[in-house]
Symmetry: C2
Subunit: 127 residues, 2 copies
Amino acid sequence: MKNTLVMLAHGSTDPAWQAPFQTLETQLQERLGDHVRLAYMELCSPLLEEVVEDVAHQAGNTPHRVDVLPLFFAAGRHLRQDVPAQLEALNAQFPHVAIELLPPVGQHPAFVNVVTDIVAERDDMSA
Amino acid sequence: MKNTLVMLAHGSTDPAWQAPFQTLETQLQERLGDHVRLAYMELCSPLLEEVVEDVAHQAGNTPHRVDVLPLFFAAGRHLRQDVPAQLEALNAQFPHVAIELLPPVGQHPAFVNVVTDIVAERDDMSA
């Protein structure tokens, strides 16, 4: 089965906020390929719905898998309620696309370690 | 001059969202000391204003430095407008406390690298 990895960011109407996410998408597509895509939960394009719809149409009737990796520090109501509701609707709309919501990057031990190191490094500089 | 490092998170009314930030604060205080503190921009306690006020009172009239490190992926309007306005008001209220707003952790190269690695690792697992 073909698969797509969607990096999900919160979204903002502020282009300056969006810029680093777009840079990340470009870097990751260069490294891994076009099946890695960026989507936003709300407020700016491309929305999660738009990306999944695009993937579903490109897949035709072929079964396809979409893993959604949230670029969030923590799983609050957005990731426990809003996004699952969005994905449930998309699963109903596109039965040939199996969508899975992964834990946010903030729960990854390597993520916690790097934030810890950045804080420690900064603390060292300001001591 | 004594200093405090304030890790600034967005804030949420959702305790499940707050939990990993509190864990991070505990870990960093064990590693670095009580001068590393967590604060929220809005929606939950301790707010940035509460933490800076507490630090200012503990400092008495002794000059003190507060570095604010945002636990944010990107610098949008919150970090370019809202937080600077909060800090300007605090600087006026507590003249003996010098507050500096640092770039968000999301702009640190190590942070971008680890997010990239987590995406690549996940992509590998779902291939």
